[in-house]
Amino acid sequence: MAAQANAPASYRPAGSLDASSALQPYAGPWNRRLAAHLLRRAGFGGAPADVDRIAGMSARDAVDGFINFPNTGSLAARPALQDPPVPPRGLYQGFMQGMAADAATVDARKAFQMQNNRTRRENLIAMQQWWLGRMIASPAPLQEKMTLFWHGHFTSSPEKQTSAQELLMQNQLFREYALGNVRDLTLHVSQDPAMLRYLDNNVNVKAHPNENYARELMELFTLGIGNYTEQDIRESARAFTGWTFRKNPDGTGSFYDNRNVHDDGTKTFLGQTGNFSGSDIVNIIFQQPAASKLFATKLLSFFVYMDPEPQLVNQVAALIVKNNFELKPVMSTLLRSNVFFSDRAYRALVKSPVEFVVGTHQLFGIPEVAPVELATLRAMGQVLFYPPNVKGWDGGAAWLSSATILTRENFANAMAQNPKMMQGADWIASAMRAMEPRTVAKTLTDTMLQGDVSPASTAQLVAYLGGAGQSALAELSHENVDERVRNAAYLTMAMPAFQLA
């Protein structure tokens, strides 16, 4: 019994893969359900009008619309960040030598430190609100979705005193390379100040090699355990010695290749020998078959379904290699494929907290993210710019616990009760005018769940709106319609389909 309890649950969908046609373009019927599926996966769910618009196109044009990012110039390119405070002259004189300071200096240092911490905290809040706002409003949702994908893959966080400005640079890098070349992105990430700090390559020098970056680069970012040796880690760490950054006054950093502390001896790495630099290491890594398989698995698990079959992984890996790690043609094929639009992939993923929150904003047409929602996301288990560790967010079943679900439901309720909701969600307001429970229930379940609801639940929702049930609500009237419809919208979000992407 204990063994059974410990068997890892597989969340691969039931049924079998049709490998021969999996990556062929989908040519079946096109409808609002599949349009919403595409919007949830390639974006965050979208507004009801987006679903209608995409359902009105061909599947091919719809995917093209996601892949070819439209101009996003209407969005704020960056959040307003405060420059890090500069300590008054001489404040830290003798500090490094451990010299005692007088009371006034102690107080001044304390004040400076508090100001510094406050700036960092406020900058991170600004960053989170800015990014969530972009996710909600961007006309290029796949660009933001890929940015989130890369953020969970090439993880960095404000730990190790990384500034908001440095994390913003990294975020912009992910956005720039959203569907770019994965090898090039990996090289840029290896030279990115936030990453150099996060995995300690800024202290990786010839005299004291630090293996942290080299290890995670192979274990988590590109190859996976079992595809390299400890010796490969040591040798590649030597190749990365001296890759560091210089701090700029505005809080950003610039990559700096410090040749003075670089180990320019001969290295043997994954069977090749030479005086390798970090760039050579990245190139050699991408010659390994394991690299394309790792990215294929990650993309499939994020966009299609968890625990994809090895056959499917191999097909996507071959596609990645064929395209020389250019992601745009790969994602173009994947997002228009039979397997992507199959019943097995449909609702086969759990919405991440970010998808849940952003999607709900889009649904109700509420563009602003209130600061309290950042705490809500934390309680749901996902803080942007704070992945839990180098491995990123596990996703899937890890999102689901009583604790996180209570937070999701209470958030859904707060959104349904939000005074701005009826203005943003004009589709609800117009359905309400009929004052007819059946019409309202159908609008809610069609718009919010694309009809993914049982006849029994639909009947119950109609009954709830009409005032039936044990609690004997009054019949729908002008007095109660607003409250009743808001509650019904919340209850529709409580249906299991709403948790699934």
């Binding site: 003798g94 993923l349 899937g396 890890a398 604790a403 209470n410 044990q470 609690s471 509650n487 249906m495």
Partner: protein, 407 residues
């Protein structure tokens, strides 16, 4: 139409669980003996996390080691102020109520607890303590793995409870769904205050006869059901308890009062988790640390007084930990920076009180830090094997010797 009992979960998924809210919480089930538990059937572990890195040196003060005062010229606790344990060690004076518990033999102090290759990041070091995994990344916590292993009654929603607003990583589990309760007042579905909403929610979350298949459908339905029922039932299940102590009016005091209530209501709860902090005392340490330690001493004394009044003090073990201790030399801001080893407390009627392990040598610092002398997994192994009655190796990832602090 909206009948509440005997609703079949998961017609599509094939998950055949009859969720009957009338019997699922039966006391008989919750009180059934645990397989493999030595002696008792109802032992509880309470974990208190001193968040932010508590300075061990000013908690259990090595006043008999002259180097201590050399490293702590302004922050050192004066010899004549410490609450003496012996000629070398004494407690910080704000711990007076806790010292009384020590004197009664109900507190074990484990010196110098840490782990190899210490990480000075709060985030990473906390993760290491929570997952019991100093190398690599583990998605479950050590308590979570205990819950996976322990074969506790599957339909008891309160086998473990976090008294926090975010589920700690230590309680992440593959199989157990641990509720996180910040406060009873805010725990639960806000919409449930409306009876009609509550009823409808109850039915909708069970709706798995939907026109699609998803590998996660049954799981979502199960968790949503847990979330609602748990929040609905817990206040009722613990309502009969009479608190028999005066707790400090602080978050820790409130959490421990709730912990005593849950323990005393015999829900079958095996592990509770409480946060206390923040101890990150880089600047003017004395005020912050003494406020937090004083609060801890008052709250833990009230907790055991309350437990004892209900005959529960011997079945509750409390373990404290912090992600790291602090740098031995104080800094120039009358504070201390991130350090390494620190003491762990084991508290309760089942503890063999006293000092355990070796205090780290103040003459052999690890770049200004205390080198650990007891691996934190030894403490976990002790708690798992000698208190919760489970083999520790699969949970802490290796064989670690246990301490004699528990029988």
């Amino acid at each position: 139409m909206m009948k509440r009992s005997g609703f079949l979960l998961g017609a599509v998924s094939g998950l055949a669980v009859v969720a009957n809210t009338d019997t699922i919480f039966s006391r008989a089930l919750a009180e059934s003996p645990l397989p493999g538990l030595p002696g008792g059937t109802d032992r509880v572990l309470v974990v208190i996390n001193f968040q932010g890195g508590n300075d061990g040196l000013n908690t259990v003060v090595p006043f008999g080691m002259p180097d201590y005062y050399r490293y702590r010229p302004s922050l050192g606790v004066p010899q004549n102020a410490v609450l003496r344990i012996d000629d070398t060690f004494g407690f910080n004076p704000v711990l007076a109520p806790f010292k009384q518990m020590f004197d009664k033999g109900n507190v074990a102090v484990v010196h110098g607890v840490g782990y190899p290759d210490p990480d000075h990041s709060h985030f990473r070091s906390t993760e290491i303590w929570q997952t019991a995994h100093p190398k690599g990344y583990e998605s479950t916590g050590w308590i979570g793995r205990y819950l996976d292993e322990a074969a506790l009654p599957k339909n008891n929603l309160f086998n473990a409870v976090a008294l926090s607003n975010v589920l700690p990583e230590a309680m992440q589990s593959k199989t157990a769904d641990v509720p996180a309760i910040d406060a009873l007042r805010t725990y639960g579905l806000r919409s449930d205050k409306n009876a009609g909403n509550k009823e409808a929610f109850h039915e909708f979350v069970r709706d798995t006869t939907v026109p699609f298949r998803s590998p996660f459908l049954a799981k979502v339905a199960e968790i949503e059901d847990h979330a609602q029922r748990g929040a609905e039932e817990l206040p009722k299940l613990i309502a009969g308890y009479q608190t028999q102590a005066t707790y400090p009016a602080t978050p820790l005091g409130r959490s421990l009062a709730l912990a005593a209530q849950i323990v005393g209501s015999k829900l079958g709860t095996r592990v509770l988790y409480v946060n206390h902090g923040s101890f990150d005392t880089h600047v003017t340490q004395k005020q912050t640390q003494e406020r937090l330690l004083g609060d801890f001493a008052n709250a833990i004394a009230a907790f055991y007084q309350d437990l004892a009044a209900h005959g529960n003090d011997k079945r509750v073990l409390t373990m404290t930990f912090s992600e790291f201790g602090r740098r031995v030399p104080e800094n120039a801001s009358r504070g201390t920076d991130h350090g390494e080893a620190a003491p762990v407390f084991l508290i309760g009627g089942g503890v063999k009180g006293g000092l355990y392990g070796q205090h780290p040598d103040l003459n052999r610092l690890n770049a200004g830090n205390l080198a650990f002398t007891t691996d934190f997994r030894q403490v976990y192994a002790t708690v798992l094997e000698r208190w919760l009655g489970r083999p520790s190796a699969p949970i802490v990832g290796g064989t670690f010797s246990t301490l004699a602090a528990l029988a």
